[in-house]
Symmetry: C2
Subunit: 357 residues, 2 copies
């Protein structure tokens, strides 16, 4: 799809390339909604799915909040296109597996996307760099209100919004914050932090990979409960925990600098050296080293490099983006080769633009 | 010892810095000799050892072959000085552990050294870059003849020269060649090669480390037998095997380039990147990466870098040399730090002199 080609040339809404730094990378809020008296997508046949798809895309296309948007039904997209949308967090991995009648309507600036016929009829989401859950909540709430003018939602006065999966019933809200936590990982303190967060009803998972094995030390914190509390309460509790985790991270970095500066510089220097000179790089290794680079930039151990340079690379090295940039589907070995070339060339270009490390 | 300070500023006799390349690094020939009717060093008391030391150093100092020489008795040397001499192959690790009456007389250009009261009264050795066992044999043979004008050697008409250890009895000769075999190691073919060499009565060991675990992929091939054959026969057989192993190595490198160029470039690039940017480097890791660098230079995968640049580093990163350069004894952690700094600075200086990789 031609529009996806254009997409990969822009930086992505959630990975700030304007220079945002620190533990918080980006925030996202999504609402799960279903149309009253219509079968959930998992129970609908193709005809019914297409009916919902046509009704919803017509409705969404007319909303001012979604001006300058793209509409993409899954069957119109190649495997690689779908992968690119997943990597950019515009669609979920589940939606990428769907067929006729499932798709997405999203703003070209990627700040808002609405998935149609994923697990629910509608998944309305907004994302942006940094910590701004309240702003995002206002955005999706407004969009939700606009949609509700034309659609009667499946709603129970007792339970709230009804959803395909019981974990979403109630507010149907999921708020999440992506955090970069290399300090806690390197100081072996991430385990207790994750455990502590779990105890107060929030979920933590690696953004790429699982649990404490998170590739690139990127973690996503989100609410677990959607029932029995107001959206504002859920959001402000998450924001508070994110702020606390950010303080733990800053503290871990400061102690690391005091207690093992040589080992920290070694970690960052090696990552830089390998990224600059390797000819094959796996996805996990690259994300881990980009994490070290991002840490090095933020701790001012890497000259005048900018966080924005590194952030953009986190996206470019993903399998879908690599294949899109290469203009063809590639197997794992070919991707490892293309990934190393991409990283080498980008870093060299940045370095020569800056006059060396 | 002041003279050792000067020594570390020169490149070392056996690691060619004039540009020699290929699998063969250097050759060495040594003879074990003992004085007739005098107890072997292991059985001599301090008084007897000192008598031998004084007689032998007086004799050796007067020989034309040893003009511009240094004399160093072990007790006059610090731990670090001894380590430097071991690393430069001027003395053995065994001699470095000895006390009063044991030491070495060696040419300042390091091409010839005579150890006194190591395991035998005299260990006469010559070394030089490349493969030249016959030339070295002529050198030590001539020196041996000169010494024999003043000394009656312990000699049995039936067995030949008598030595402290039975494995040296006969000719007392040990010829060895240092080979750099990264191609055979990377292609997993070093095991069978070592096994094959063992079967024909030669010994192979890692120069640093053991067996196939040789740090830096540096191997030493030497004769096992000293009895029942003429020196020339032993030497020419070793030279022939060295030539064959060199051909195997060249073959392995050519196949590696054909069959897995990307993986080869990856191996070399990563080594270069880590050496350029690490802040802590262990000895084993550094030697392994210098090996990759040497391979890269020889296979012309590293621009206009020269083998000589890399060869010199093999010596500079050894513990003794690092401590000598740092002007003080250092523990393992401090050495890892100093080693990384030395490598970074040297490579950066070479690169800037050459206008980049």
């Amino acid at each position: 799809m031609k529009a996806i080609d254009d997409l990969v040339r822009q930086p992505g809404a959630w990975l700030d390339v304007s220079g945002g730094a620190g533990a918080v990378v980006s925030s996202r809020v999504r609402l799960a909604r279903n149309i009253d008296r219509r079968p959930f997508p998992g129970w609908a046949g193709e005809e019914e799915s297409l009916r919902v798809w046509n009704e919803m895309t017509a409705l969404l296309a007319g909303l001012p909040a979604l001006n300058s948007h793209l509409v993409a039904e899954m069957p119109s997209l190649t495997r690689v296109d779908r992968e690119v949308l997943v990597e950019r967090h515009i669609i979920s991995r589940e939606l990428a597996e769907k067929n006729a009648g499932s798709g997405v309507v999203f703003r070209r600036d990627e700040s808002i996307s609405v998935m149609v016929n994923e697990e629910d009829h509608l998944r309305i989401q907004a994302m942006r760099p940094g910590l701004d859950l309240e702003g995002l909540w206002r955005t999706v709430d407004a969009l939700d209100t606009e949609i509700e003018r034309s659609v009667t939602y499946a709603f129970s006065p007792r339970l709230g919004y009804l959803t395909a999966c019981p974990t979403n019933v109630g507010t149907g809200i999921r708020a999440s914050v992506m955090m970069h936590l290399p300090g806690l990982v390197l100081m072996n303190e991430i385990g207790p932090v994750i455990k502590g967060i779990g105890k107060i009803g929030l979920a933590v998972r690696g953004l790429w990979g699982e649990g404490t094995e998170a590739a690139g030390n990127m973690f996503q914190l989100s609410n677990q409960t959607t029932l029995g509390e107001k959206e504002e309460t859920l959001i402000s509790r998450l924001a508070q925990i994110v702020t606390e985790v950010g303080e733990h991270e800053a503290n871990a970095r400061a102690r690391m600098m005091q207690q093992k500066e040589a080992s920290l510089r070694n970690h960052i220097g090696r990552a830089y050296g390998i990224l600059m000179h390797a000819y094959m790089l796996s996805s996990k290794e690259t994300l881990d080293m980009l994490s070290a680079l991002r840490l090095g930039v933020e701790m001012e151990l890497l000259g005048d490099w900018k966080v924005a340079d590194v952030n953009a690379l986190f996206l470019s090295v993903q399998p879908g983006h690599l294949q899109k940039a290469g203009g063809k589907a590639m197997g794992s070995d070919k991707r490892d080769f293309a990934r190393a070339r991409t990283v080498r060339e980008r870093l060299a270009a940045i370095r020569s633009g800056r006059g060396g490390k």
